[in-house]
């Protein structure tokens, strides 16, 4: 298919752009296969350069011959274009609609994007499972890397290489896969070096109504326990939901068959409940006119912070089991691709200092989200302005990032990255020139040949010039476990995301710059003092030599 077919009017003059906090701009609007561009041709800059894939929804309005298109973006920004001429306006609108909802992934921008920067390190090879496993050198006696899923035959949503107990062979894994939702047999997610306890994750067991068992599954799970030890199974669903799942062939582990394990049910919401929560929250944040009572009641009714609290609480519980209780855990919900990953990845943020570094956090996303098979393509297809009633969309990843932000706010010096890093990841998960977040799992990414045909986000981010924007100037490595407070009084609306386009951040940005200046100046002064001390010491020894001939 040619994009030209979709672009009936590639160019319109005298279009007026309205954006929050900027005066309106008149200029020429151009449509390309992947971008919507508006330029006033004033200082050789484009006032607007928007990826079609970032467009969540559009509205059209007409007043006489003047048409108005309101563009609502996946990053929650809303812009308005006044377009002279009804026909032009209709053409532009229908083109945007078509181009922002392309069916085929291979028509997406990452397949066309040619980087203008030099690739220092190919991000596609930055976080290989083998390298990640090597970091767990302590675990080698009990765990191994298995390639049972090499052809994606055992589990379509798992990567080719997974870490499993050494005592369990590939044949047993194949059997366990038939007993777990989506073939997601229990695999290692995190190894706690301090005491050798682990986090595993999986899909729900397929016990069904007649209480089916799987000896291999029981053996696998028990193989992860050390002698005389107990473990905890954290089911992210409430008990009644887990019970209802049996009717559909799912279920949960019966105590009788897993006697060394205790089951804990939590209630992390999924799918449309989260999506509706996001829609309500963004709608409320965009309303500048509501009075205080209405704002607070809508903020409450959105339930967003309730979800944050529930996810964080479950992650803290998981981390407690490992660090305080000295027990291993298995985490799953239904599929094991959403709430499960929120819990396992946040527990690592709490427990593992490496995951609070830039590199470590990237590795975490690669391992616990991309390789672990979080269906980014489905979940991030639409954002807060979508009106389609598809049930696949859900801001699962955004909730995770929000939770990380909450912890970052409570431990502002313990993270190597800053808030901008999290915002950048949110943006790229929804619309990007890079291939990293395309597809729903490794199998799909392989088929799409993303490694050959697109650029990895990490190739771009990990260049020094980009990294400096995402580095937290206050960072000082902290090797401790960091326990966040999850009290409602300690949680906050993530203003950097939700109020980003609704208020000017000028004064806050200036203050941040000033803070960076103070820190830089401090480093400069320290260096100078050290240099002068050395000079003085040298002069003193010289004098000393002169003194004692």
């Amino acid at each position: 298919m040619e994009f030209a077919e979709l672009i009936k009017t590639p160019r319109v003059d005298n279009v007026v752009l309205h954006r929050p906090f900027y005066p309106p701009v008149e200029g020429t609007l151009c449509l390309t296969g992947h971008h919507l561009i508006l330029s006033s041709r004033q200082d050789n800059t484009e006032e607007l350069w928007l990826l079609h894939s970032n467009i969540d929804a559009i509205d059209k309005r007409f007043v006489g011959p003047l048409g108005t298109i309101i563009i609502k973006c996946k990053d929650f920004r809303i812009i308005q274009l006044d377009i002279p001429g009804m026909e032009e306006c209709l053409n532009i609108a229908s083109s945007i609609e078509a181009l922002s909802t392309l069916d085929s992934i291979t028509l997406m921008y990452p397949f066309f994007y040619r980087p203008m920067f030099e690739v220092i390190e190919d991000g596609w090879h930055s976080f290989l499972p083998e390298q990640e496993f090597e970091l767990y050198s302590l675990a080698i006696s009990e765990w191994r890397l298995s390639y049972v899923n090499k052809e994606f035959a055992v589990c379509p949503s798992y990567p080719p290489a997974v870490i499993v107990p050494k005592a369990v062979d590939d044949e047993a894994l194949r059997k366990v896969a038939t007993f777990r939702h989506g073939g997601r047999f229990p695999v290692l997610s995190y190894y706690h070096k301090k005491n050798g306890m682990v986090i595993m994750r999986s899909g729900q067991p397929l016990t069904g109504t007649n209480g089916r068992r799987c000896k291999e599954d029981e053996k696998l799970i028990n193989a992860t326990l050390r002698a005389g030890k107990r473990g905890y199974i954290i089911d992210t669903r409430p008990l009644n939901v887990a019970q209802q799942a049996r009717a559909k062939g799912g279920g949960f582990e019966q105590e009788a068959h897993y006697p060394q394990w205790r089951r804990i049910h939590k209630s992390i919401e999924r799918y449309h409940i989260l999506q509706e929560s996001l829609i309500k929250l963004v709608e409320s944040c965009n309303d500048q006119t509501q009075n205080m009572d209405r704002w607070l009641s809508k903020l409450e009714a959105s339930n967003w912070l309730t979800h944050i609290k529930e996810i964080l609480t479950t992650a803290c519980l998981a981390a407690q089991c490992l660090d305080r209780e000295g027990a291993s855990i298995l985490v799953h919900g239904t599929e094991g691709t959403d709430s499960t990953l929120q819990v396992t990845s946040l527990a690592q943020i709490i427990l593992e200092p490496r995951s609070r570094t830039i590199r470590g956090f990237e590795a975490l996303i690669e391992r616990e989200w991309l390789q672990a098979g979080h269906p980014f393509q489905q979940r991030c297809a639409q954002s807060a302005y979508c009106n389609s009633k598809q049930k696949w969309e859900a801001p699962v990843f955004l909730l995770f990032l929000d939770c990380v932000w909450q912890i970052l706010r409570q431990f502002p010096c313990s993270f190597e990255f800053n808030e901008n890093f999290l915002i950048m990841l949110f943006e790229h998960a929804y619309a990007s020139q890079f291939g990293t977040f395309l597809g729903n799992n490794e199998s799909e990414r392989c088929k799409l040949k993303l490694q050959q045909k697109t650029m990895s986000l990490w190739s771009w981010v990990n260049r020094p010039s980009e990294l400096s924007k995402f580095t937290n100037p206050l960072f000082e490595a902290n090797n401790l476990v960091i326990w966040p407070s999850v009290a409602p009084q300690s949680l906050q609306l993530w203003e950097g995301i939700f109020l980003r386009w609704n208020r000017s951040s000028k004064y806050l940005d200036e203050a941040y710059e000033e803070m960076v200046n103070i820190i830089e100046y401090n480093k400069e002064l320290q260096a100078k003092v050290n240099l002068l001390r050395r000079q003085l010491a040298e002069l003193e020894t010289e004098d000393g030599v002169q003194e004692s001939p």
Partner: protein
């Protein structure tokens, strides 16, 4: 001392306020003439000033002892369990007496002795001089004059002696106006804004009813709905009930925040102040502000409006002047509003607390516009209730003079100025914010719950690392480093000069030598001094077992066989 029957009780438990498992610290409770003191097994001290106690409650006897719940005006809540009911009863009765004094002379300020002589004390009182402040504003001038009409408090008892009024306002006009205004509070100058074009000013008066528009030409009327003191009192009450709940859910927190109306009131005060500032700045209009008596809402709006308009009031000293002028001198009834004495509980209201909260919201929106930081606001709030200093005692200037506060008590301001370092905003100084008229955004989402005020003693709810403290200390450190660099450079210069001076006689060298080790010592001392500062800065509260509620899990989890139930509770506890 006649109120104190028991001065010391051992084996008292201090419960964790938000713990659902009744986690506690055991220690000894002491009752002194001025404070209640609890020292726990780790020798950590909790001091509670009697004047800070808002309410004491003795709950029903339990198996572990008699619970005593104390709520403080600075929002500290403590829950003791006293083993013997008899002791609890004694302490309870003593605290009831000690926290509600009948006479001003029994307040702490009259016995507080910071070991200063009379001259120092007087100098302290003269530190903030309102006559100077009016001069700074540019009055008297061709339009405004100092009136001696109230010199003996004859026209208005609750105004100060010295008042600025329009030149055309003769004494008969003033007398006439005062008869027409509630409590004789006729319109007087509160703030005079010097702008380039026209002079404009805000002034204040008391109302009770409102002006008939027909009789005031060229005047526009604007009603801003700030609620009265009773609504504000019950609003705060509700807010405190909500955020004191154990195991509070997000939804209950926000619906409680909403139904308390607290942030709505804060926004109303802020909106009124912005209206005032805009009228003066943008329209060059003069504004007359009044409510019913003109000492609560009027003070809030005038002082906040002035703060928006005039950068001077955003400095540490300027803020003191502002409080002295708009609150203390114009007769905000601190003693009644703060309940300093055992009086009418219906007169108590958090009017000044709301003002401080509005200022805090401004500091959040304009992080570089204020010379002072949050700790400064919290400290002032602490002292409006502490009755440790004379500034806030009494309800108007006349009363303060009668109490001879300047002779018998100390002023708070010099003590705050001495401690200035603690209250400095390290980010203060960007020109754009420092000098500008502030135009805050009052869309509802800008107003947040002020955790550091209403939970200032609930450390577990706070961020575990404070960016602010780090930057503040770094700023201090930078100043020290600059000094060090100068010292080092001059030493190096000296050394070099000495070397180039050529051959020095041994005697001369010997005379220099004793200095060197000493110098080295000071250097290395400085080096040491630098590092620990950093260490302290980086200490993570949540990670040190002593002050961290999480550590309780360690104990629980080390029990022989942990049950799922206890884990669940563990999280419940962590969450609250």
């Amino acid at each position: 001392m006649e109120h104190i029957r028991t001065t010391k009780v051992e084996q008292v438990k201090l419960l964790d306020r938000f713990s659902t498992s009744n986690k506690s610290l055991t220690g000894t409770l002491y009752l002194t003439a001025t404070h209640l003191l609890f020292i726990d097994a780790h020798q950590k001290e909790t001091w509670i000033l009697h004047h800070h106690i808002a309410s004491v409650e003795k709950l029903a006897l339990t198996t572990s002892g008699c619970p005593l719940v104390i709520q403080c005006k600075n929002f500290r809540t403590v829950h003791f369990i006293v083993p013997r009911e008899r002791d609890c009863h004694d302490i309870y009765n003593s605290l009831l007496q000690l926290s509600k004094q009948a006479k001003y002379e029994d307040l702490y300020a009259f016995s507080y002795n910071p070991k200063q002589n009379d001259a120092e004390r007087l100098r302290g009182w003269e530190l903030i001089d309102l006559a100077e402040e009016y001069k700074r504003m540019g009055v008297p001038n061709s339009n405004w004059q100092l009136s001696d009409a109230n010199r003996d408090y004859k026209i208005c008892e609750t105004y100060p002696r010295e008042l600025y009024v329009p030149r055309i306002a003769s004494k008969p006009i003033i007398v006439g106006s005062s008869k027409f205004r509630s409590k004789g509070r006729f319109p007087v100058l509160s703030y005079y804004h010097q702008s380039k074009e026209l002079n404009a000013m805000a002034n204040r008066a008391a109302g009770k009813g409102y002006e008939n528009e027909d009789n005031y030409s060229n005047i526009r009327f604007q009603f801003v709905g700030i609620e009265n003191i009773h609504v504000m009192r019950s609003s705060l009450q509700k807010l405190l009930e909500v955020n004191g709940t154990k195991g509070l859910s997000v939804n209950d927190f926000y619906s409680g925040l909403e139904s308390s109306g607290w942030l709505r009131h804060i926004k109303a005060v802020m909106d009124a102040a912005i209206f005032l500032a805009k009228a003066i700045e943008a329209e060059s209009a003069s504004v007359l502000v009044h409510c019913s008596d003109g000492w609560d809402r009027t003070s809030q709006v005038c002082s906040l409006g002035s703060l928006l308009l005039d950068p001077y009031y955003r400095t540490i000293r300027g803020f003191m002047v502002l409080i002295e002028k708009d609150w203390i001198s114009f007769g905000h009834k601190f003693s009644e509003r703060c309940g300093h004495l055992d009086g009418d509980p219906k007169e108590v209201s958090p009017v000044f607390t709301q003002f401080l909260e509005c200022v805090w919201h401004l500091t959040e929106q304009f992080p570089q516009a204020f010379e002072f930081n949050e700790a400064f606001l919290l400290q002032i709030h602490e002292h409006i209730h502490s009755c440790q200093f004379g500034n806030f005692i009494g309800n108007c200037q006349k009363e303060r003079e009668e109490l001879k506060l300047k002779e018998k008590t100390y002023s708070l301001w010099p003590f705050l100025l001495d401690d200035q370092k603690k209250y400095l905003n390290p980010l203060y100084g960007s020109q754009s914010q420092k000098s500008a008229v502030l135009e805050p955004n009052t869309v509802s989402f800008n107003f947040k719950f002020w955790r550091n005020m209403y939970h200032q003693f609930d450390r577990t709810l706070h961020p575990r690392q404070s960016v602010f403290n780090i930057i503040m200390n770094m700023n201090e450190q930078n100043k020290q480093l600059e000094k060090d660099i100068k010292d080092l450079e001059s030493q190096i210069k000296q050394r070099k000069n000495k070397q180039t001076d050529g051959i020095l006689s041994k005697e001369l060298l010997n005379s220099v030598r004793p200095e060197s080790p000493a110098l080295k010592a000071t250097l290395s001392l400085k080096e040491q001094a630098l590092l620990p500062v950093n260490d302290v800065l980086r200490t993570i509260e949540g990670s040190s077992p002593a002050d961290n509620r999480y550590s309780e899990y360690a104990d629980e989890f080390s029990k022989a066989e942990p049950a799922v139930v206890s884990l669940e509770y563990g999280v419940a506890r962590m969450t609250c």
